[in-house]
Symmetry: C2
Subunit: 141 residues, 2 copies
Amino acid sequence: MTKFVLDERLARRPVAVDWALSTVLFVDDARFPWVILVPRVPDVTEIHELSAEDQSTLVGEVARASRALKAAFHPEKINMAALGHHVSQLHVHVLGRSKSDPLWPDPVWGPGERVPHNPVPYGDPGFEEALELLRAALEAG
Amino acid sequence: MTKFVLDERLARRPVAVDWALSTVLFVDDARFPWVILVPRVPDVTEIHELSAEDQSTLVGEVARASRALKAAFHPEKINMAALGHHVSQLHVHVLGRSKSDPLWPDPVWGPGERVPHNPVPYGDPGFEEALELLRAALEAG
């Protein structure tokens, strides 16, 4: 069996937490509270390629991440998506949206530039602070 | 308990099949093979609001829809997303993408107009034919 290796483009993002199946990455974008779940299963690009057990674990971890984002950042709506046009290694975006965010109601994957937390825009806490807030919620969730 | 009623904007789309949890709607867009799964659970807008059992059933149905789209239409990549900015009733998009499609690698929810199957563009089979092909694959999947 091939060993799982996190795609190098995904690996540029900080790890917020490791759960039973997924490594949870934090996306440094002050516009949205945003994590990416990467199941640590080698050579998988689609959810239906996971075992039924891993599919169930994954959706449970998506739900847990959603609850944590709601608890930490109070978004109005959760977005969840697996696209994989640029990075084919299976990864699931889970992020919070609000009617006041800069792209509502458009999706976050189209036009629009990422806004890093440092320097601080939109009155958000800085990157480290946001990451700590997220980690606490993910661990509690 | 409230009775489940399909949102009227979702209800404009034809039902391809009813599964244990979800009603599977067919999106008439010749650019992409595309279905929408709507869990028949009242008053739910987020995946994490479903019971753990329904979450597992939902991801299994997403996987089944993905396999059916691959079998019937041979896309290169599956997209899966729950957004809900316009229709808050929980619904999950599952669709096939190919590098030759008109929006690759952009998401399908941004710019770009829907292309109905009739009249037939892109050499695709007509709407009824596509729906029949999809139904057969969904039932076999």
